[in-house]
Structures are given as C-alpha cells and as structure tokens.
C-alpha cells in the first residue's frame, strides 16, 4: 500500500517534469527584440530669407520753408521714397507729426504744424498710399529737435516726422 503511494508520487513527479520540460521547449522560440526606432534629430530648418524686403521700414522726415506748408522740391524727393517704402509694407500704419520753429506765435504755429502734417499726408495719398493708414497730429513749436535761436536750428525744427504705429 505504502509502495503504491510512492509509485503514484513518482509518476506524478515524472508527469510534472515532462510537462515542464515541454513548456520550456516552447519558450525557446527566439524572441525578437523590438526594433529600435531611431528618432530623427529634430532638424532646425533655417528659414529662407526672402530677398523682397531687404530694407527695414525707415521713413525720412521732411523740412519746410519758413511760415510755409507747401512741399518743397527736396521734400518731394524724400516723400516719393517714403511712399515707395510704405507700399512695400502695406500693413504699416503711420502718424505724421507737424512741427514749427519758435518764431511764430504758439497759437498760430499749432495750425501751421497741422497744415504741414496734412500737406505731407496729402502728398503720400496722392502718390497711392492708402489714406486710412495715415493719421496726423500737430505739435506746433512745442517739440523742437534743436534748441538754438538761429536759422540753423529753425530750419531743423520746421519739419514733418513719421512715426510708425504698432
């Protein structure tokens, strides 16, 4: 009886052993490691510089004769360049500031400065710049760029300046 037990146990063990060895045989199928996906280096693509707008938007101020708001020939040349430039930057908005020298009265100079700003705007608009892009303001003689009391300074102060708006 006891012998029969042992034999049973041995058989069981054997059976287990066989079963196990069969299992390990299946495992022997070669496991292929997952392929290493090579992530490409994030390439910095240099933006291609378009050769169209080489010049930055710079507008040159113009000057006026004493107590006048007519565009002089010299100012006309400058304004043509300014207008061409503005056409390269169709989204840019500008404000034209009219200024005077100190010799007139402050009060009249406010109007004179406005006339200068308006005359400048008119020129640009007539040249083809959209009027809605241009606003004007007069500072009369309140914002001189040169503080002397001679023609050298006065001629610098009689001006229209261009401010590029955001």
């Amino acid at each position: 009886m006891k012998k029969g037990w042992i034999t049973m146990l041995m058989l069981l063990l054997l059976a287990l052993l066989i079963a196990f060895s069969g299992c390990s045989k299946k495992q022997e199928v070669e496991v292929v490691p997952p392929p290493i996906i090579e992530e490409p280096e994030p390439q910095v693509i240099e933006p291609v510089v378009e050769p169209v707008k080489i010049e930055p938007l710079v507008l040159t101020k113009i000057h006026f004769d004493y107590d006048k708001y007519m565009i002089t020939e010299e100012a006309r040349q400058t304004l043509i360049k300014n207008a061409e430039m503005l056409m390269l930057y169709p989204d840019a908005k500008i404000k034209i500031e009219g200024h005077c020298d100190e010799r007139g009265t402050n009060q009249y100079n406010l109007s004179l400065g406005q006339k200068r700003a308006d005359a400048t705007k008119d020129f640009l608009v007539n040249y083809g710049v959209n009027a809605s892009r241009i606003s004007t303001i007069s500072f009369g003689e309140e914002k001189p760029v040169c503080n002397g009391h001679d023609e050298n300074c006065w001629s610098k102060n009689r001006r229209a300046e261009f401010v590029i708006m955001d």
């Binding site: 107590d67 009060q107 009249y108 406010l110 109007s111 006339k115 500072f139």
Partner: protein, 452 residues
Amino acid sequence: MSKKLYFIIITICLVFDIVPFKGILILTKTVNAQSNEVYVGIRDRGVSKIRIAILPFQPEGVEWSNEIQEAQSTLANTISDDLDFSLFFDILDTAYFPQNYIKKKEDIAFFDWSQLGVNALLIGNFKLNDEVEVETRLFSITAAKLVREEKYKAEKSQIRRLAHRISDDMIKFLTGEDGICQTQIAFISTRTGHKEIFISDYDGYGTRQLTSNNSISLYPDWGPDGFNLTYTSYKSGNPDLFMIDWTNNEEIVLSSFMGLNSTAAWSPDGKKVAYTLTKDGNSELYILDTRSGRLTRLTYNYGIDCSPSWSPTGDKIAFTSDRSGNPQVYVIDAVGTNLKRLTYMGNYNDLASWRPGKGDLIAYCSRLRGQFDVCTMDITGENPTCLTSIGNNERPEWSPDGYHIVFASDRGGTYQLYTMDWTGDNVKQVTFGYQAHNMDPTWSPRMRWKFK
C-alpha cells in the same frame, strides 16, 4: 457831440478844480452815471487823478514784532499798489506827509493835507492773531469829514487778499467803478518741466499750480463768470479741449475731434466757445454751444483760421487768417457774415484780443521789426499803435475793466508775464523765473473773495 461837449466841461472843471470833484468823497455806493463819466475821463486822459494819502495801518493791542511789521507793510504796500494800478489815484508819497500828521487818533490835520492837494485820506488799524482784523476809515479832505468806515476779517494767510478787497471797496466807493484788485491771472509755466497751468493774483503774488497733467497744456481762457477755464492739452494724445469747472470741481472734455481743438475763446455771455478745429481737413473756426453741444462752423477757407476773440457785445469775432498769404487779423460777424481784413502793416499779425467794456480797441501781436510787439488798433483797423519795443511780446489779454493788458515777453531772456496800461505805460513784471518760461496769460473776470 453833446457827450463830447460834456467831456470838455468836465475837463475844464477838473483842471480848475471847480468841482463836481468835491462831491466825490461823499458819494455813496449808488453813484449816478454822471460821476462815472468823470472818472472814465480820469483814466482815459491820465490826468487829474484823485490824490490820496494812505497812512501806515496801526497795530492794536500786541507788542511790536517782525510779523506785525510785515503785516503792516503788506497792507500798506498792497493797497497803495492797487490804487496806483487802478489809474484813478495819485498816491501821495510818505516823504511828503505833513509833520506830526497824526497828533491824536481822531485829530486829522485837514488843512495840512489840503495844502498838499490831498483829496482823500485812508487810515487803518489792524489786529493780528490767527486772524487778521482790519478797520479802515476814509476821510474826505475837501469836505473835512469821515465818509466811510469798514471792518474786515480774514485768516492770517489771507492778508494780501484782504488788502485787495479793501482796495476794491475804496475804488467802488470813490469812483463807482468795480475794481480789479481781486482778479487772477492764469498762465502756462514750464517750471515743472512740463507746460502746466498756474494761477496767481493779478500782481503776481500767491502763485499756485492748477494742472498736473505731465503733458503739454496750452492757451488757457478764463470764462466770463469766473467759474470755468478752458485749455488745450495733449494728455490723451490728441490736442483736445478741456474745461475746468470750479462750480462742480471737475474737469470735462469739451471737444476731442481728431486734430486740433485749440485757441478757445469764451463768448461774453459765457455760453459759447469759439475755437479752432481741423477735423474737416483744414484749420477752421467753429462755435460750440457748451450747453446744447451744438457746433456751428464759422469760416470756410483753404487757409489757416485761428485765434478768435469776441467783441464785448458778442456779435463780432476778430481772428487770424492766412488767406491772404500770411497771418493777418480779420473780423467777422458771429453769424459768419461781413468778413473784413483789419491789419495791413507787416506780414505777421495774430492774437487779436478785443477790449472789454468800451470795445473800441483790439489788441494784437504784430511783427514789424523781426520780433513781436503788442499793438492796439481801432476796431476798423485804423490807428495801429505798437505799445512795446523790446524783445518778443506775445498774447496780449485785457484786464476785465479794459484799462490794462497782460502779455508775455522774452525781453529778460526767458518768457515772463508783464502788465501795462492800455496806453503802454507803467510796464510791470508780474512773474519771475531764471530758467522757466511763464507765458500765455488769461485774465480772470472781476472777483470777490469769500473770507471764512
């Protein structure tokens, strides 16, 4: 014609001291029209003024101190300067006072004073503690009696203003005219580094800052009721027109059209403002009804139109236009008709200011010698007469009585305010400053300060 004849008779009377003149010192506050004309005559001719002696005001009840001495001289000097400025009075210099001019308080040496040609004598006492109390007594020397007694009281810091009140009361009592001694002058100063508005008494004392915009402020104009003042400021970016309203203690935007909202001038009735707008593409004059907000365009011309000034009756406006090629003064009816050019001398005439009261003159700025002078002309443009001759002299503005002009001049290096008589005499510097400019004045209407 009859007016002229009357004037001649009055003048003869004055010259020979046959006297409606003796009557003055017993005039009450209700003065008849005749005696008014006598005094208008005095100011216009600059002769036969009322000779007045002002005794040093005597302190009461306290020991002598520097403070007492200062108060005494403030009272005496302020009243004396005021009366002199008014052009009605000839102030007797203390050096000519009779010996022992006061023996006793009530013992006036009428005879001695009359020998000196004195018509009126002002005596005063004052008490000084936290407050200043002043008692004045005015004597007619010609009638040899006391004609007016008055008491005044104010905080000690208000002593100058109190003295101005005494002056105005004296002028009213003796001449029937309203004085301008309590008036103020508003002006633009650069002393803070920005152009801000400041206010001072008409004689330059008591200066205080009105605006703190840290921006450019320009061209203040004091409204005729005294309670508001317009000016142009860039504080919002655009040169807009603002109004300070002291009745409600607020500032409102009166006009903010794109472009200039500038050189505003109140109409004499205080309801409208004439000013420059560039909203329609050119510098034109408009009239804004400040109550209804209704805007009326006055000028239609491609040239610059600016710097309006109303006639005292409010039916005409003098202004500057460059329609002839350079700035000249024109006049137009306030409804936009009857345009007429007034100035023909020189190529720069600007800043017309119509004389209040009589309305017979227009002051303006003219550049005939390379720099600006303050000039006057008849309202027809005739008889242009320049009153200054040194440096630049700009923005003439009349005192409310029409007998004085304040203007800005750079004769001393920087722009400072000066006053002068309508004839150009008695030029007096009102503001001082080594670096800062003080300019662009406007004279307040007559004022009567409240003391407590």
